[in-house]
Structure formats: C-alpha cells, structure tokens
Symmetry: C2
Subunit: 501 residues, 2 copies
C-alpha cells in the first residue's frame, strides 16, 4: 500500500532528478538527518549529479547545507565529492565532507545542536530556500509521519520556500506515534515555558506539518539508514564504564542522586556504548534517558527492562538492530519518544530534569578545559554536537576518553588544550581507563593534581607534574592557572613534528 | 524605630565580635553580597580580627568563603589581609583577595553565577556551616526584608547550619516589596518550569525565610554599600556604544527584533555604562532589562521614562545615586525587581525572553574565542561572573572591549586566546572602538577577516593578517581553524618579555 495517501500531495510524486531540479546554485538547503538516520537517500545524489553537470559545463553550482546533525555518504559524501557545498552546519562525520572542511573548501559552522533551528528562525543564516526531508508516510490530510530522526525538520518545513519530501518505505510504517513535535515555539519575547516535566512526556504532535502549496516534489525511496555499528566493547572502554558506574554508585550512597539515578544522556561512541552495556549488568533499575540518540545499547536496556523510557531526537542503530526494531516497532511505543533537537538538547529541559551527561573528548588539559573537536588546534574532526548543550546544563557531566591514542603516542591529558570547547567552568568529572578526576568544587591547582594522578597515563604523568610544578614556580603573582607560555603547546608541536607527544 | 520587630529574633542581637565567634576554623561560610551591594559590613571584619588573633596564637584559622558575587574591602579585603580564606567562590573583584588568589594562597573556584547555589544544594561543595546575610529588616513573624542584593541568600539561609544576620539601617526600609524570592526550586528530578514570562513578572515572595532556630546572632549596622562609581564615558566607550546601538537599529530594520528591542543584559563596566548612556539619547523607548546588576545608568533610563522595567539580582550604584535612590525608593516600586541570581541568570529564562547580552572581555582571538578572565593565560582578574550564563543563552550577544590596552601596547585581538571562557560556538558579535564584527552564521576563516578588519587596532592588523595567512598556508588539510602552534601564543610571550605585544 502506498505511503502517500494525500490526494493533493500524491500528484507531486516524481523522480529524484526532477526533484533536485528545484534546487539552484546559491540556495540555502536544509535537509533532514541526524546521526546517520532519517536523511534523504535519493535527492542529494541526484543533486550531486546536477552539480557535476553544471561544473562540467563551466558553471558555478554550490549550496549552503544545513541538517540536524551527521548524515551519510549518500548525502554529505556525494555532495562533498561534487564540490557542491560552500557552507555546512551544524555537524558532520562524513570523511569526504570532513576533508572538504579541512581543505578550506567548505565553510563549516560548528554549532551547538540546540541553537541552529532557532538561529535560522531568528534570521541569522539568511533565507531558507529549499527543505529536503525524509518522512515515513504522508497521511490523507497532508500530515507527515516523521522518520528515524526528527532533528530540525519542523523548522526546515516551516521556514523553507520550497519543500521536497522523500517517503522512505524502508522505515517502519509503525513509526506513527513515536514522535513528539512541539509546535508551541515562538520568537522572543513571546516564548512560553516548555512543559516537559519527565523524559517521555508529550507536549506536541506525533506529526510534522507542512504547507502543501510549498511541496514541489515527493520522491519515493526504499533505502536503509546508515549502519551505525560499534566495535565490541574493549578493555579500556570497559574500564572507563566501570569507573563511571562506580562513581554513580558513590553518588547514590552519598545521597546526591536517587536510586534509579537521573535521566542519562550519552554521546555517540564506544565509551558511551560501553557505559550503557555496563548499566545493563549493574544493579540499577528503572533508568531513564533524555538524550540525542537512541543507540543499540539503549534499545537493549529497554528490552531487558532495566530502562523505563528514552527520549531522543534520532535513532542511530546498527543495521542488525534497526531491522530487528523495524520488524517489531509497535512493542516499543510509549517507551521511546523522538523530539525535535531543539527540545532534546534544550537547556531549559536539561537543567530542569537534572541530567547525567556522558560525552567523549579529544583531550583535557591539566586545569579541566576540554577539547572535543580539533586535532592540533586546527583540524576539525566532527564538531561539538550536543556536548555543550548537555554539559553546561547537566546536573553532573562526565568527559571520557582513553588516556592515550595511537598506541601511546598521544596523551589525552595535556598542559594546555589546543582548542577549547568546554571551559574549566563547565567540566565536572574526567574519566580515562586510568581512573576518575572529580573536579566539582575544586580550584585549578587541585584539579591539575587530580587529573594528572588519576587520569593521565603513567607514561606522561611525570612530565605533566613537571610542567605543572615549573609553571607554578615561574608564575609568582599569577598562580590561578599557571602556565609556561613557551611550552604550553609544546606537546602538540612535538606530536606534529615527531608523531609523538 | 528598630528594624528588628520579631520578639524571638530580637533577643539574638549581639555584637559583631560575638557573632563572629560562631564561625570556626575550617567552616564553609556563605555570605551575602553581589557587586558590592548587600554584603555584611561588620561580621567579616570581626571574623578577620578573630582570625588574626588565632594566627597570632599559632593556631590555624581559615574558612571556605562563598558569596553571591563581588563584595568589598570590608569583606573580601579584610579576610584576605588576614589570610583567613582557603577557598573562594564564585566571583571576586577585591584587590587583596585577587592578590591572594594569584599568589596561590586561596583556591578560587571561578563559577557561572547561575550555577553556584544549585551546586551547593546538590552537595558539590560539602556542608554549609554558617550563613552571614545582610537584610534590611526583620519583621514580627521572622520574615526578612532583603537588602540591596539578593544573590544566593535564599540558598544560604536554607542550607546553612547556623545563620548570622546583619540588619543594616542604611538600606532604605522601603526596600520591602522590591524583591522576588522564588521558593519553588526543587532538586532534580522534581523541578518545574519557572513561570517567568516577562522581565519583572513576580513568581515568588518579597521576603527571605529563615528557620529562627538557626539564627545564632543578629548584628545591627548602619553602613553604606561600596561606592560603585564609574569614570565618565570616554571617547572609546562612546564609540563602542554607538557601534552597538547602530547595530541594534539595523537588526530592528531587518525585522529581527521588535522596535523596543529585547530585554537587555549589561555587564558591569565602563562600556556597558556607555551603552546605557547611549540608549538614553537614542530613539528607543519602552525598553526592558533582565540583568544581574542595576547600575546608575539603568536607573537613569527608568527615571527618564525610556525604560519600563528592570529585573536584576543586585544594585550597584555610585554612592551619590544610591543616596538619591534611598531617599526616594518608593517611587521605583513595580519598575525594579531583585531576584535570586539563580533566576536572574537562569538559562531557561534567558533563552525564553531572548536577551540582548552585552559583556566586556579581555581579548578575543581571530576565530572568535573570548577570554574574559585571565592575563597571559595564568593571572586571574575577576572571574567569568554571569557572562557565560547570558552569552550562551542570549538571543544575541556582544563582547566589547577597546581594541588596545596600556596605551597601545596590548591588542585585544590576538592570534589565539590565552584562556577561553566563551568558545567560538558561543560568540555572536565583537565590538571595539574600531568597529563591529558580526560573527553569526560565519565559519572561522570569515570570522578572522571580519574581526581583524573591523575590530583590531590598525597598528596590529597587518600582523594579524600575516599570522592568519601564514597559518593557512602551513595548514594544508587542517584549515578549519589554522594555527601556527609555535607562534599562537607568541604575542603573549612578547608582552610578558617586553611589555608590548
């Protein structure tokens, strides 16, 4: 049975190529997609072909490209290969797009994920020309059943001059009812409190709305989301997860947290995956999650009954888990909710609910400044994503990384971070496989001792202490965060020059 | 007539020395005070004498000291001179305390002003032993009329084991009715939306509550707040204010802001003062302010009828303006409201109301990272204060500084910030007397051009461009935020070594 049952809109069904013809050089194009889920599968590739043809004819053709967060090769990869993007926001993990960002060809605006939709609405990014949004179905009255991510789609559909829909029949039709799209947003000064009091409370609509007159094309697809598989949990990740879960036990015993903890946010990655795996085997029960992304191990926690509910803005499952979920989606209704990323990452809700925020990092310095985004101060890896939204407003935040990278050549603890995404004012707890540094209520000098002794790899500890002590000795009258400016970035210079810190 | 009309509590009136005797070595002591207003005037000095005596006798005596924000010589200065403080949070401007922080004698925890109260309640700072809070009056039923700042006083009175009150008859008795103390706060996961929909909306109680059994001493004082006078508006400040107000005009014309703007937050300092002075002479009317601090020029805007209302957590007036206000306080009721700093700086409210946030800075780097706190990466000036609370969640934020300091020896625009308090993800607009760099919706490379061309002093522009271009040339494949790690901090090294950048 067709997924498009709206008489008006079913007349707009066309090919991806015909749809892509609605996009012009210089357009600001906002697409769906968050952590490799719910992105359009066909139109971006057709657009890339259109761009290739224009370039072959000697014409300029590039777009400004906005999404929810990361997409996949079919979107970021193909458009980057075609050199068809001049501006990209707010987040990317695709290797071709990353290369284009780091070559300087793409202007990348690395943005807090809760900020982009409102800033586009405020007019900070200019006019939105076209939205390209994947949905699961189009209902008779024109309402849209969202797909495996909500992201910024509400705002894209509201603001774009023209709308292209992709209706993906690979997505389970049973997605209807999984989403909560809040339509109470307004522009300041007319905003109201967001009445979310618990993670899966509904405050919106299960459907996306679109003005049918704006829909210029609908493309039917049947294509899977990106396969978001993780490596199996390794020894280091398991050690970090154990430190973290032990710390939570300690907080419960100290009376600072309820027995079922507080709602958990976990970033995407191996460590977060290991933490969720560790919770599966822990004594904790009736857990909740208020997070961005629904990963395999969150689904497992739901299935095992350890976790009561999850609010996210996107799925990000392995192909295997996705297919299993899709075949049995009804069973999860009421336990999983997908919201707009403006709400999943909203400071108001994060602070109100009191989240436990768990995010990875590239490096932390001795005073607790965290770099989440850059290699050697210059090269973009992925982006800040939601880590700033969550860390700033969480009840308790953790930044987690193995103490070394590249077989011990690189230390995750450095004298001075080469780029700062989370300032010393915002970082509560740092964890490596070596141990845990609880920075709450501590001043920089004490932080340095904890971070070095508990978190740095033993191979780097003496040199870090040596730096800290010499900086102290050389900084009479400037000992809040003593530094040796000549050496502060020397570990990064050495890595650049010798391949080792 | 006595300011203490509660029969039970009036029996606790005693001397400052007797009150200070309730404070012991090692105590965590939480005092009132915010931007030099509403701090206790007598007990800190008596405590300093007690500490001096203990030290003279060879005994250890020091306290952990929490406040709302900055106080005055009578509090921070005297306790620092006595070497009586081992930990200090969240903010300080006193020169003696600053010296003690930078000598390494005081562990200073430089904290977002909206975070401290909740984190103390969460238990992140250990037990709160004693609160010392200035109030205006004690009513017959034990309710307390707050003083010229609210700050964290609600939390201090709630959490401390013992309470010492100072009742300051210099504060106008007519303060009754100026305050809104929200008693709906709870611990996560039981928090509710904060129902502030416009700047001066009331959601709380005009009084502070205290358990009378905890009040161990009350001290009567009659002492003025710190004289918070500013230098007259100079040419540079006037230029920056003009740039900023012109920019607001432009935003209104572009339809991105209502004609009466959005609620204004202005940091403390000469530039903010000049901006408020500039608004006084502008065409804007029916302005509102949702801010931390009520400065002279905000009061003038109220008096002239240009501004309809101000919500803050503290006054910070010149002596002259304070005395004038005190003599005529009734006239301002309903137009000025003082809240707890948890509410004045709350991310939920700041984002909902859509603030225009105006804050000073020490330096910005070419990519838009802002240092608000440190000299040469190491020496603490004051602290981050509320700038992070406001900038992160504002509709639009401005960071403002003269383009040079020390007669042109120091550039406020540098290749790499020596300390980062506001990351490139958070900074919207940078202003110097040279001009304005609108960084919204721009990637790092474009930001660098705008910041250097529009904001850097001409004496430094060529060298900044040279750095930027050489960094670009040397960074093939790492051109998101190109840096020369060997030179990134060289301007600061040169300043350290030669006194000039």
């Amino acid at each position: 049975m067709s997924r498009i049952t709206c008489p008006t809109l079913s007349q707009r069904v066309t090919s991806a190529a015909a749809a892509a013809a609605h996009i012009s050089h210089g357009d600001n194009v906002a697409m769906s997609g968050f952590t490799g889920c719910g992105y359009p599968k066909a139109v971006p590739g057709a657009l890339a072909e259109r761009i290739d043809a224009a370039h072959a004819a000697g014409d300029d053709f590039s777009i400004g490209l906005l999404t929810g967060a990361s997409t996949s090769h079919e979107l970021d990869g193909l458009l980057a290969q075609s050199k068809g993007v001049h501006m990209r926001a707010p987040f990317n993990t695709d290797p071709d797009m990353r290369a284009a960002i780091n070559s300087g060809d793409v202007e990348y605006i690395d943005t807090h994920l809760s900020h982009l939709a409102q800033q586009v609405w405020f007019g900070f990014y200019g006019n939105l020309d076209v939205a390209v949004v994947e949905v699961t179905a189009v209902l008779p009255n024109g309402l849209l059943v969202p797909s495996s991510s909500v992201g910024n789609n509400k705002t894209w559909l509201d603001l774009a001059d023209k709308v292209i829909l992709e209706v993906n029949s690979w997505q389970p039709r049973a997605f209807e009812g999984f989403h909560d799209v809040y339509y109470g947003t307004k522009l300041p000064p007319n905003r109201n409190p967001i009445q979310i009091l618990e993670p899966t409370q509904r405050i919106g609509d299960p459907y996306l709305h679109v003005d049918p007159d704006k829909v210029v094309a609908i493309v039917e697809t049947n294509a899977p989301d990106r396969d978001n598989a993780f490596a199996p949990v390794d020894a280091k990740s398991e050690a970090m997860a154990e430190h973290l879960i032990d710390f939570l036990r300690h907080e419960v015993r100290a009376g600072r947290m309820p027995e079922n903890l507080l709602p958990i946010q976990s970033g995407v990655g191996n460590v977060a995956n290991a933490v969720l795996d560790g919770l599966e085997h822990s004594e904790f029960e009736h857990l909740h999650s208020y997070t961005e992304v629904m990963q395999d191990n969150l689904l497992k926690l739901i299935e095992s009954g350890k976790m009561d509910s999850v609010s996210a803005t996107a799925f990000s499952l392995s192909r295997e888990a996705a297919e299993k979920f899709n075949a049995n989606a009804e069973a999860y209704k009421g336990k999983i909710l997908l919201r707009t990323q403006e709400m999943s990452n909203h400071p108001e809700i994060i602070r109100r609910l009191g989240l436990i925020a768990i995010n990875g990092m590239v490096e932390a310095d001795i005073y607790g400044n965290v770099n989440s985004t850059h290699v050697l101060g210059a090269k973009m890896i992925n982006g800040i994503g939601g880590s700033g939204d969550f860390a700033r407003n969480a009840f308790l935040n953790f930044f987690v990384s193995p103490s070394t990278a590249k077989d011990g050549a690189i230390s995750a603890i450095v004298p001075m971070a080469s780029h700062v995404d989370h300032t010393e004012h915002d970082v509560h707890v740092i964890i490596t496989e070596q141990g845990i540094a609880d920075l709450r209520g501590t001043a920089p000098r004490r932080r340095a001792k904890k971070i070095i002794d508990n978190c740095a790899h033993p191979d780097f500890r003496d040199r870090l202490h040596d730096y800290t002590e010499r900086a102290w000795a050389a900084s009479a009258g400037a000992r809040h965060t003593p530094h040796l400016l000549d050496e502060a970035l020397s570990w990064h210079q050495r890595l650049r020059d010798t391949g080792r810190m």
